[in-house]
Symmetry: C2
């Protein structure tokens, strides 16, 4: 495999190109901002709504988790519900005085379209976070935040990162928080990390070996990367990886650990990192392998993340998992990130 | 393997005994009822609370999902949050005017204990659904519902079924719904199903073969069985199975389907069963194997459930997955349901 510094971008698989184009896509969003309508709307705060129901499918759902936590921590009545469940099983969660906060990069997913058709009477206020501004979601929404992520081929990369960033900006506006440079600083940090993408890919590929079972664990806002990581490994490499919360893993799944089981453990917030360390020790004691993704805890099997802080840390967390999906596809002898069964937009319920 | 009708109960693995003792344990709960204090409390309804936050870990969390959906469908402001996340990442969800609804059969899980210590100021009203009435949860709760499930050895079986049933009864009382005989009728239906446990175990064991990847899919309230099924397969058979929502599976994970991938698909509610059928067809078309658990849809790979209706359907759904965990343990040459790493009560955060 030629070194990434020597191989022209256009000769790389398009999925790898998508991954490498994340820093300029993020810069594009940050330069454009959320737009004047969304900025005006969010600056008024969200206290006028009886409920804030955040919804999405796949990577869009996972990307919304940090924002859900921040709004809930601020005391707001906020839910995060998969659109399929919201549509089929609990539409009553959304009232006429609710804010329905929909993240969907295509804006055309089957569940999102059906939900918008269903939410007519009572009609909530709809905030759409969307890449395609011609989509059903963009048309139906009262307020639109555009992702400015460019066109993606299949697996969500730039749109995922920009959904994380756009929703973090939206939450800050809604909560009246001071501006931060964390996301702007992330453009450079992510670029520097991806300049060495081949070395980072090989490092995580070597670290996980070829496990019988691959599990990705996280807590809190880092669950966004765990969920998305497991998803894109299935999509891009056709390889089975499961995401679980670190707490839940101790409540039973730890029993499956033996030689052949690899756990990727995201360090996450400082206040829970020691609990993760204790679990990592237990996993190793039971014969399993641990790959620790973080940089403040001195773990023997740690791989460093891009040097991001604040909300941008969750961008840093997805990068090694993206690169892992590339390595696993290469090992399977397939081009990473090319769909064999699906189309880019899931139009079937 | 001797026929179950000929082998004395006490010669079976204790985990299998736990499974077979579910009908009398359920009868015990239904005979005892929820107790006068809980009945009085619930009969007043839950409108006096600004929030209802349902929480638990592992099987207790999954067992609460159908009740969360029913309360949400009735318009109540209800959340279902894993106790680890509630404790560490979003304690602000619980206010002084909230009902904190805690399901924990041991009542002593590390997260539950820490949460109870944390919820002091402001202090919510605490409803505890618990098997051990000497536990920290039973002591701290304002209202206690006892599970009457008897003592379990390791993997949750009787306590899971009784948590499903007790929370269904609690929801009915709180919503002022008419009494139903569905749970009483389930005692006999589950007994009849388990009288043939060996045949049912062999049938699902044959149907899944030995997959490279095993995924359990469901929607709505049937997600309780999917989540618990994947958990107990990891616990009792040390085998990797993942639970996912059927909708989410179509949004990406479907890409991993090939020869060697087996999907157990729970039929669930009538209104979404046709969507599951379409997915089953797609999975087969892509080379994967489908095991359909249900009885109203004429699927070529269907295994029938115990003949239960109403809330008891979610009891019927867990039984074949319990038996699958027994078969997978037998194939691995281990006694099913014996913990090698964990203790029954998870006392470590």
């Amino acid at each position: 495999m030629p070194d990434s510094l020597e191989q022209p971008l256009e000769q790389l698989p398009r999925y790898v190109q998508d991954i490498l184009e994340q820093p300029p896509a993020l810069r594009g969003l940050l330069t454009a901002g959320l737009g004047s309508a969304a900025t005006t709307f969010l600056s008024q705060g969200l206290a006028g709504f009886d409920r804030i129901v955040i919804t999405g499918m796949g990577a869009s759902l996972y990307a919304s988790y940090p924002s859900y936590l921040r709004l809930a921590r601020a005391g707001l009545p906020v839910w995060l519900v998969e659109t399929g469940e919201l549509l089929h099983d609990v539409p009553e969660l959304v009232t006429g005085r609710s804010l329905l906060w929909v993240a969907s990069q295509s804006g055309e997913s089957a569940e999102v379209q059906a939900l918008l058709e269903q939410c007519v009477n009572p009609r909530p206020t709809v905030l759409g976070i969307v890449n395609n501004t011609d989509s059903a979601l963009a048309q139906a929404a009262d307020v639109v935040i555009e992702l400015h992520a460019g066109e993606e081929r299949a697996v969500s990369t730039r749109t995922y990162v920009n959904t994380l960033a756009a929703s973090a900006l939206a939450v800050r506006l809604a909560l009246g928080e001071p501006e931060s440079t964390d996301l702007f600083a992330a453009v450079g940090a992510v670029q520097r990390y991806l300049d060495d993408w081949r070395a980072h890919a090989d490092a995580i590929g070597d670290a996980i070996s070829t496990p019988d079972a691959l599990v990705i664990l996280a807590r809190g806002a880092s669950l966004a990367a765990a969920g998305t990581g497991a998803l894109i490994i299935k999509e891009a490499a056709k390889y089975h990886a499961e995401a679980l919360s670190t707490s839940q893993f101790r409540h039973g799944p730890l029993e499956m650990v033996a030689v052949g089981v690899t756990v990727v453990l995201l360090e996450g917030d400082r206040h829970t990192a020691p609990l993760g360390q204790r679990l990592a020790d237990d996993i190793r004691r039971y014969g399993g392998r641990v790959v620790w993704l973080g940089q403040t805890v001195p773990d023997p099997d740690a791989l460093s993340l891009a040097a991001c802080r604040g909300a941008a840390r969750h961008i840093a967390e997805i990068l090694p998992l993206q690169l892992l999906s590339v390595v696993l596809a290469e090992r399977a002898g397939i081009e990473p990130g090319v769909f064999r069964h699906l189309e880019k937009v899931t139009r079937v319920l």
